[in-house]
């Protein structure tokens, strides 16, 4: 079965529409979404409505959570003061815009979705604020997949799609406890695991304004990273018309994302 997985739509209705058309072309039977439906972009309500009307199973993103719970993203999850100030502006704007039923919908989204040997999260199994970057230490990356109890871990949050293969993992452990006279040696092996980051529909960061998502075939295990052009100028215009900071439009048009990523991949908010 072919499935499509997407993330980080961020109120970009134009991009979502075009991605849905592209998904149709690839005849994916099921669509999953790993969160961040709202935030930064000009159409939070419309995006949520479309996702709901199509009954797309969705995991909660950090922006979805923050709109429900109040701004809880810790300062340290912003890479800079400027990004934080911009993030707060976007949060306030979105908070004012979203309809009560949208907020309710976002509130009930689960942190994790599970389907056989597939797991779907926004950031990582630990937290929807944690970034699984492609350069993250391979053992730490493996630990995240193992923690999800799946073979394939789908995530988003970093806005740059990638497929990471983690194979032939081996670990030798020697355990010594004073009550047992002898040391125990244990060997651990982990079979092939993968992290698939599905990129971002509405807020790309790979240097081009196009939307990205992933098609995955559960039988052949083939992954296709999709990059879809859409009329980003429409979204840029809407950003300005609807009173969001014009710099968001400028950055969107260049595939620079709005606020940049946090640089510590393992940082987890302790609040």
């Amino acid at each position: 079965m072919k499935i499509a997985v997407m993330s980080c739509i961020h109120g970009n209705y134009e991009a979502l529409n075009e991605v849905l058309i592209d998904i149709d072309r690839h005849s994916a039977e099921k669509i999953y979404c790993v969160g961040d439906l709202v935030g930064y972009g000009p159409y939070p309500n419309e995006v949520v409505k479309l996702i709901r009307s199509l009954d797309i199973p969705t995991a909660q993103g950090c922006w979805d959570e923050d709109i429900v719970e109040g701004l809880n993203a810790c300062e340290c999850s912003y890479p800079s003061l400027l990004a934080e100030k911009r993030g707060k502006l976007a949060h306030e704007w979105t908070n004012k815009e979203v309809h009560p039923e949208v907020r309710q919908y976002l509130a009930q989204l689960p942190h994790t979705l599970k389907e056989n040997n597939l797991c779907f999260v926004h950031g990582s199994p630990n937290s929807n604020h944690e970034y699984l970057l492609p350069e993250m230490d391979a053992f730490a990356a493996l630990e995240r997949v193992l923690a999800s109890n799946a073979d394939v871990l789908f995530c988003g949050h970093t806005h740059i799609p990638y497929v990471r293969t983690l194979d032939s993992a081996q670990l030798q452990v020697k355990v010594h406890q004073p009550q047992n006279k002898e040391e125990r040696s244990i060997s651990f092996n982990a079979p092939l695991k993968r992290i698939i980051n599905v990129g971002s529909v509405g807020e790309p960061r790979h240097g081009r304004p196009n939307a990205t998502y992933v098609v995955y075939d559960t039988e052949t295990e083939e992954v296709i990273l999709r990059e879809v052009e859409y009329d980003y100028k429409k979204t840029c215009q809407a950003i300005i018309d609807r009173g969001l900071p014009p710099i968001f439009a400028w950055r969107l048009a260049r595939g620079l994302e709005f606020a940049e990523k946090a640089d510590d991949p393992t940082h987890v908010c302790e609040r």
């Binding site: 053992f139 630990e143 990471r164 194979d167 670990l171 030798q172 355990v175 010594h176």
Partner: protein, 240 residues
């Protein structure tokens, strides 16, 4: 030589027994680390704090970091990262929460607030739980991938912890993994990553079990470990 202990849990007699045992060592102990859980829902908690704050002459000034019980105190007093002491109540019930409130004064809680989260010395992380949180309990049964993750979060080669109360040494000997990344514009070939020897050490628990305290001696030069068990007379009418 370092002496590393954890989990006094308001048991003054146990702490005294360990201090006495440290003095008896042939090798001089140069640093004394207490990895949290100085207090617990025990009336003697205050006395333990006073004893730690005021070492006798000739005794080492202990280096102390926060533990799980301290974190519960912060939550009770509304000073911590948690809004409610939910973990405490879920685990021990409201009665214990009340007892903890009565056992540790606000003044002491303020003092505890000033403690470190953990210590990083040489290539060793000394901490109550792990680099994730005070509640993170590492045991010999913890999946080794998880242990490796806890070490790598802070780039440490050794992690000394006390949450489980168990005494153990878990050596992660050889580890390897083949990894490759494909992005929209790039296909990185398979790389094999290996890691050097690392270990997680459970330093034991001083006060939880009456009459028996465990702690750890560590020589940072030779990286040698020595687990110590101290049996001591149980004073009547206290604790368990």
């Amino acid at each position: 030589m370092w002496a590393i202990l954890s989990g006094i849990e308001g048991n003054l007699a146990a702490y005294e027994a360990v201090l006495a045992d440290i003095k008896r060592q042939r090798v001089t102990v140069e640093e004394l680390y207490i990895l949290g859980d100085l207090v617990a829902a025990k009336p003697e908690s205050e006395k333990v704090i006073k004893r730690i704050q005021n070492p006798l002459s000739g005794e080492l000034q202990p280096q102390v970091c926060v533990g799980w019980w301290e974190e519960q105190c912060f939550a009770l007093h509304g000073l911590g990262s948690l809004a409610e002491p939910t973990e405490l109540i879920a685990r021990y019930g409201k009665q214990t929460a009340k007892l903890l409130w009565d056992s540790v004064s606000r003044e002491t809680v303020q003092w505890l607030r000033g403690l470190h989260f953990g210590f990083f010395e040489l290539d060793c992380l000394l901490i109550h739980g792990s680099s994730v949180s005070v509640s993170d309990e590492l045991t010999p049964q913890t999946p080794p991938w998880q242990m490796l993750d806890r070490l790598q979060r802070v780039q440490a080669n050794s992690l000394f912890c006390g949450r489980s109360g168990q005494v153990f040494e878990c050596q992660l000997q050889s580890a390897s993994i083949a990894t490759s990344v494909v992005t929209l514009d790039n296909k990185q070939p398979v790389q094999t990553v290996t890691t050097l020897q690392k270990r997680v050490v459970g330093v034991g628990n001083v006060g939880r079990e009456a009459g028996k305290a465990t702690y750890t001696l560590y020589n940072p030069k030779s990286a040698r470990l020595d687990f110590k068990t101290v049996f001591y007379g149980c004073q009547k009418g206290f604790g368990s």
